[in-house]
């Protein structure tokens, strides 16, 4: 029992001595793509004007297969740093949310493609492994 107490004590003292500090930083680019706004878009019904009213001007306007494609994106970056006396560990994780709205030649929504990768984004320190 006393061995485990000593071990725990050593661990606590070591971590206090060796740890200088830790840091959390976060950066975002673009507006959050609201799920309720995307849910309001109906294929073969919603018009280009309604899309602009719902989501604002697109971040990118593409022309693909003779159709207009509105692209909206948002980036989220989380940085975790563990600052020790002799060594620092840092990990920067960046993920994006992307929304593509494909409009047909009449300006009616043909397809809506949304993927939100930022929901599961976590602060991580450990740079090794996955």
């Amino acid at each position: 029992m006393s061995f485990f107490k000593s071990l725990a004590g050593i661990c606590i003292v070591s971590s206090v001595i060796l740890t200088q500090g830790c840091a959390f930083s976060r950066g975002t680019l673009g507006e959050d793509i609201k799920s309720e706004s995307v849910a309001a878009i109906k294929k073969a019904t919603t018009t280009k004007a309604e899309i602009l009213a719902l989501l604002g001007a697109p971040d990118r306007l593409l022309q693909v297969n003779g159709r207009d494609v509105f692209q909206y994106y948002r980036y989220d970056a989380k940085v975790g740093s563990l600052l020790l006396i002799l060594i620092n560990f840092s990990r920067v994780s960046i993920k994006s949310d992307d929304l593509f709205v494909i409009l047909d030649r009449e300006g009616i929504v043909e397809e809506v493609i949304l993927s939100k990768h930022t929901d599961g984004l976590e602060f991580r320190f450990w740079p090794f492994g996955e």
Partner: protein
Amino acid sequence: MKLPLSGLCPLLLSTVMCVTFVGCNVVRITLNTPLTQNDVAFIVPGRTTLAEVIAKLGAPDSITESHTGVVATYRFLDTKYSRINFGWLLKPFSPVDADLIISRTGLGTDAFELFCDSNWVVTHQSFLRHLSGPRFNPYPF
């Protein structure tokens, strides 16, 4: 044209600056989830549609037009940086801050590209660089 990630550059730069003044640094930067051959094994050219790919992998980072149809691109990055400052060994004995630094960065940028015909059916697929992934290795020589 302004790159989408240019707004995040100050954050990345400040992170690198903050961790520069210690003996050893290990930094990893990941952008999106790196894809592997296993992740895209379900794609059968001539049969799989872009909608099926999106259902499994999510939306691509970009969709552009080519002469034969559409190109969808998934970009990802797995950068590994490691650095050792041997000057730290002299700190207790030297009146000046001497530095002897070795460092190495493996950028690990890659992309997965899908070529689709006008009916959104995948015709070709390929990774841009077939990287096996960089390792943490500060030795630059």
